[in-house]
């Protein structure tokens, strides 16, 4: 029951957002997402977006991997 998946917001209509991932489109509740915008990525769990994903931080994750790799 705990599976969560990142989805992209396409359209917003009140507490609902039309989201997509891997060709799949779904209506998701965004009640507790601050300032959601089309184009944002959110992590979706049991029909609710739980948090926005940050592209900047994701890039930092990848940079960190590169650093570890280069330090060897």
């Amino acid at each position: 029951m705990c599976l969560a998946m990142p989805m992209k917001i396409n359209e917003i209509d009140g507490p609902l957002a039309r989201c997509e991932a891997g060709g799949l489109s779904q209506n998701i509740r965004i009640d507790f997402i601050t300032d959601p915008k089309p184009g944002d990525y959110v992590m979706v769990h049991a029909g609710f977006a739980i948090e926005k994903m940050s592209e900047k931080e994701a890039l930092e994750n990848i940079e960190l991997l590169e650093e570890i790799k280069n330090a060897l």
């Binding site: 705990c2 009640d31 507790f32 601050t34 990525y41 049991a46 994903m53 931080e57 930092e60």
Partner: protein, 363 residues
């Protein structure tokens, strides 16, 4: 897209394994525990266990909310489902958990004509209540902090629409009190924790700093891809090698130090902390959520004056040891012969996220 390109295969990041092996030579044998059903599944699927050095053992703790729901609660729900006017809704894997009688579960009751529906989201349960005004719809709200704000939002929506035939049976649980109880138990033998990323997205990474703060145990808030897990294991191994326990957040692309304030305030509005019983861990103060009195009309416990019957453990099942990380699934005498996903004896085999089901499927 970035998030989909994230390294999914542990084979793509051999340099992480090399580092882990280096540090593990300094630590000697260590036992790292995850406490999240999704971690259990990602670890099993990615095959990480088979590539880690021998010194590093991964264990599953009480991370599957279905597996920690006690049998007497299921018994209570099974007898509620016998009422003609009741419609029970919940997540699919909860419907498959047996009560104290083996093989008896909500799905079986449905096959026998009982009103039971499986839903993906609490909002689907609300819709079913609207579609069936002649029934009392009871949503079984299980889960950890990740599921709590959505359950709260759903209950508030029912209250604002004055949907009187809908109620929530609150089975939600909190992670921190369970971890503390586990750590303080006499047979505790874990060197560090992979902290649940999606729980932390709600409550904040900082909430896990009690691990180094109170117990000198390292913790890493971890994401769910193979590279996330290996990075997190690497951090734990490094902290153990250097004997400098701290709390780190590896999952910064989703998890903020203070979590999601809007979600937390929804939870605060609807729930208050309450004692709760866990399979394998017993009663733990403040480890559950109860629905606040203002919303009593949507609280199934109060609405139907429910009382769980006395607790009985399933004979032979070692789930309580499995959940505490002191028994490995394969060491349970029932594992694989009497107990399998097709014919589960205990809850750890029922849910795909349970330690026994993951061990059965992926070895």
């Amino acid at each position: 897209m970035l998030y989909e390109n994230w390294f999914k295969n542990p084979g793509d990041v051999p340099f992480l394994l090399k580092k882990i092996t280096e540090y593990s030579k300094q630590t000697g044998p260590i036992r790292l525990m995850e406490v999240c059903g999704t971690h259990t599944m990602s670890i099993a699927r990615s095959g990480i266990k088979s590539v880690l050095p021998e010194n590093v053992q991964l264990l599953s703790g009480p991370g599957c909310p279905v597996c920690v729901t006690p049998a007497n609660i299921i018994d209570m729900i099974l007898s509620l489902s016998e009422r003609e006017d009741i419609l029970i809704t919940s997540y699919g894997d909860l419907l498959r958990v047996p009560g104290s009688i083996r093989g008896d579960n909500l799905l079986k009751r449905r096959a026998g004509g009982g009103n039971v529906e499986s839903v993906y989201s609490p909002m689907d349960a609300l819709r079913l209540a609207e579609d069936h005004p002649e029934k009392e719809a009871v949503f079984l709200g299980a889960g950890f902090e990740t599921t709590a704000p959505g359950t709260a939002a759903c209950l508030l929506e029912a209250a604002s629409r004055r949907l009187d035939n809908f109620s929530v049976l609150c089975l939600l649980k909190q992670t921190e009190p369970a971890l503390r109880s586990l750590i303080e138990s006499p047979d505790f033998a874990v060197s560090g924790f992979l902290c649940p990323g999606h729980v932390a997205a709600i409550i904040g990474a900082d909430r896990f700093s009690f691990l180094p703060g109170d117990y000198r145990l390292p913790g890493v808030v971890a994401g769910f891809e193979a590279a996330d897990l290996l990075c997190s294991i690497l951090e734990l191994t490094r902290m153990l090698a250097e004997n400098r326990p701290a709390l780190k957040n590896e999952y910064t692309r989703l998890v903020r130090p203070g979590g999601n304030p809007a979600a937390l305030s929804l939870m605060e509005k609807v729930f208050r902390p309450a004692p709760s019983r866990w399979r394998g861990l017993g009663y733990i103060d403040g480890s559950g959520y109860a629905i606040r009195d203002e919303y009593a009309s949507w609280d199934a416990m109060q609405k139907f004056s429910l009382k769980p019957p006395a607790e009985t453990e399933i004979p032979g099942c070692q789930c309580s040891g499995v959940i505490r990380g002191v028994v490995r699934p394969a060491d349970c005498p029932l594992f694989g012969n009497i107990c399998s996903p097709a014919s589960p004896v205990g809850p750890c085999m029922v849910s795909g996220e349970g330690a026994c089901a993951a061990a059965y499927q992926y070895g």
